[in-house]
């Protein structure tokens, strides 16, 4: 039986507790939060779980095998480090850490002690993203042209991070998972209208080949949009995460280019064929993710969303911040 200690029982924590508890061979043993009301809710719903307001009780408990860190990003490094140093596996909310240096240190500690780190990039376990991964790996789309995500809505304003650190970790982690090539540079522009943190931003991601990626993130949009377009040489895909019935549509549309001998001009032909919306099942992503993490620990396997995956995302977020400070100039990664 693997025993789990959860630090942070705010918005996301209850989902973490519920899902880890559903996995066979696992059990949430203790929850820590500074807020007494949060702890009261834990005790009401889970009389067996120990509660505490002191995270040291979690990270040092001899009873606990895994520590999950579901707190604001600025606290991730310290909490995860304490847990690792006490020989706990760690499950950390996204984004992994506030700096790449912190992430690297955590990875080193974990490796030296053969402990697992998993970063909670939940979207990678959704049926939609797994289906898109399957489609791309089966070469349905052909060589990729672009990856274009719009992730906008009204709020929630965060006080400690800007809209890029809030919304684009989703896009960076999904892109990192779906596209084999790794980015070489990032550029970001934004504006802060309400307080000192950017509430609207546009991010360019450059690849060594002709793929180009772009994220539109905005806390001040009157409408909620969650739409990703992925263009390929053979087919093109639209993922609308807000469409409950037809999340993914694959279009047999595109451009075929032929060169006539002896002619300079390219001949461009437009292709327009059927559209296909694969069934996307409804399993809760976090349910799969928690089970996967526990399996990785049992089998001593490295999760694909490990510290390195978290580090790659943090590097791109850091590069965005640097670009923001320099009028949106491209920052190499």
């Amino acid at each position: 039986m693997l025993k789990i200690g959860v630090i942070g029982y705010g918005y996301w924590g209850p989902n973490i507790v519920r899902n880890f508890n559903l996995v066979d061979g696992a059990k949430v043993a203790a929850v820590c939060d500074k807020n007494p009301n949060a702890l009261a809710r834990v005790r009401k719903n889970y009389p067996d779980i120990v509660t505490t307001s002191d995270s040291r009780e979690i990270v040092t408990s001899p009873d606990i095998d895994i520590v999950t860190v579901i707190t604001p990003v600025s606290t991730h490094y310290e909490l995860a480090k304490a847990a690792l140093l006490n020989d706990k596996h760690v499950f950390v909310e996204k984004p992994f850490t506030s700096t790449a240096a912190q992430a690297e240190e955590l990875i080193d500690i974990a490796e030296s002690k053969n402990l697992k780190i998993m970063v909670d990039h939940t979207f990678l376990f959704t049926s939609a993203v797994r289906k898109i991964k399957e489609i791309i790996e089966a070469d349905v789309l052909g060589d990729l042209y672009y990856y274009d995500s719009t992730r906008v809505n009204l709020g929630l304003f965060q006080h400690d991070v800007n809209v890029i650190w809030d919304l684009s970790p989703h896009d960076f982690s999904i892109m990192d998972y779906l596209i084999k090539e790794k980015p070489v540079g990032v550029a970001a522009s934004g504006r802060a209208h309400i307080n000192s943190k950017e509430d609207i931003a546009y991010i360019m991601v450059y690849f060594p080949n002709s793929i180009i990626a772009h994220f539109n993130v905005n806390w001040l949009s009157p409408v909620k949009l969650r739409t990703t377009l992925i263009g390929g040489e053979k087919k093109m895909l639209v993922w609308n995460d807000l469409d409950s019935d037809e999340k993914i549509k694959v279009y047999d549309r595109g451009v075929d280019v032929t060169t006539k001998e002896g002619l300079y001009d390219l001949l461009v032909n437009y292709r327009s064929g059927d559209m296909w919306a694969p069934k996307v099942d409804q399993t809760e992503a976090l349910r799969l993710e928690t089970e996967y993490f526990l399996n990785c620990i049992k089998k001593d396997e490295r999760p694909f969303n490990d510290g390195q995956a978290g580090l790659r995302v943090v590097r791109m977020l850091e590069a965005c911040d640097e670009s923001l400070r320099h009028d949106g100039k491209m920052v190499a990664i």
Copy 2:
């Protein structure tokens, strides 16, 4: 009776002829095109119109008062200049010219001879854009936060210009019309997948204040999108030009910020109220535009979409091209 000579009878030319002919006190007298089939179509539909394959016959004809230049952008300067030097008013397809220098020269000639230049930014005459202008001028939205346009679809590939010169003149001219402040810088990133011209591009527009604008233009999208979000302090607007019934939606949504005395933290309150979709009438934009141009000539008034408006757009397009050549760095205007 004002007599009009039309140069170029390809995709857009027939609309120009039809609409100028509908204006009282005006008449299309001659049409020029290199393509004999185009001229045959003119003669079939308009037996009274003189046809020619030589543009000099149009620009030098003593019978003609106004020359409309509806040809590829690379030919605009030469044709418009010839027309102006022969004392004709000119109506030029967008974008105005290939370079700002060309535009400036045409403006100078026209001013010295008191001739009118009008650049065909047709969108400014649509009911949708005129309604948005009205809403902004009535201060319904309050101070503007951002202007965000998505203009993507499959093709049509142009051989002489990239996707920026093809699609974003619409966005630049609409933004120039709607937003009082003038941009101070532009940045553009893109990629060419099919031939040597960019087929996908993202454009940032910087203003002296905190307004930020962004255009997403793409010739390789499986779906057609024409959506503009305009965020303001008081309300927010979504313009979906493909929605035949409810093109414009004004949302009473936003964020109110209050500061408590003695507290550092801002208090952010979310506002969510009614939505309102004003009636947008269906008059053909070009009908209004042609009539407006002829009125400007008769009353000796400068059209608001004059050479200067065309020049402002060309300057931003030139700056985009320069930014493209320098990894998307910001180019001052």
Copy 3:
């Protein structure tokens, strides 16, 4: 403190327990279900609640003031009658009873003992329906022309009732609430494709004046639709319950009729104006409904969704069944 006994803890029962427990001055004291797993779930979530598989323990308990009957419709009459005879107020799942005669008997018993009956027409407590009620009562729509509801989706097949008894109680109760005039006749046609109960049906409702109502209910639709059109002389309303953001749209559209003196022909003018989507708040309907019921009991007031409201719906359902048996002929009410 009012004590509530809940009979039936299947799909809807847990919502009933949760919401009654949230009301000040009320408490769910006991839950009855035949299914031991259901009772185990009760005990896990609510250690204080007494559980039983014998409904008589609920209806005869001296500790209980209110009995809620959340069981299949065929059992409503017997359970509610037993509760009333034991001097309990009753809250009954829709549809109220299997026959009008049963409903009338329950109403009589309740009146003779001054007990309250409330039928769980939850939709009447949704923000959407309350907003539409407000709009109609403010005479925004003018005289009503028609009420047209489409309520279709795949399944769930019920074994004891047809699609009319499953889906159209919603429509009948909402229509009964919104439209002052009472129907004079009903007609229904349908077909049973899967088992012996109709899985698709169309219902006409006739009024003494020119209002006409129609419900399209279908268990075999590939897409889920929940759309109601309400046409009025002055304005028209569309309620799309699946649109999370803009559930209600009020259109300033319609037809104005004028008669020219001395002419037989009517002149019909079309009106097309703005559209307006009022904000619809998100309060849980059942939360309001349970609180309302307990207030009615405390203040000794008759709820508007009382036994009579339940009876009116059952009469229309019975008339539908009779019409189904006679080739869809109109059945007077």
Copy 4:
């Protein structure tokens, strides 16, 4: 060269003239209309076409092979009869005639003289309907369960017919084309709010087997809807004619029924799979229809949308009117 005489040059006539003129080996020779402005428009666009306000000139002209009757339905019988008696083939706007008796008489005359009648059920030549036909004939949907059409919008009010005669000929002809089985009965209910003709109506169509069809037609809807659901045992289809990109969607959804031995209860399993939107091309339906009619004449073949097809539709319209007069009772066909 087949010469065509067109009677009626109102809303639809210009499309008829344009399309017949595009067919090789055919030519519109004369157009008749009572309205001098209509004739002026003909002469402006087609200087070669003879114009007249006297339909006898068309039907008796020795120069004319085919008469097209594009006038109000009340005049179809007389004009078509005169044309047939003068040995012309006839092309008649839908609905074919005002009564079944008239249609039968026209069919008899045409057969006795070996002349062709084609009724202009244009929808049968749209790419969407032809694709649906193909899907049904390939047994993709399996045995059909239902056919459910919604065809509503604001206006246009007709003075001579009710909404059923205006809108539902489309539905009756499409249903007649797509479904092999022939209806045995029809029922219709409606109301007239604006003048004495019904402006809203609901139509049931009964088949000998378990197929059921329903049409919702309405001149008083604030929104325009053109949606048809076709449910089958194997798959289900949604045709949204207003969706420019994805008109037809085929859903792999449904219900599978199994019976367990020794058990009375059916086991119902829900099936939910991929969705597929076949490409629907954009050819103008009337272009195909006119070409097809001329081919039928040349090859002496009977068109599938012949007088009999027109008669079947008129019979159902007549039955609807009778049902309207009897409280929506079912009328056998």
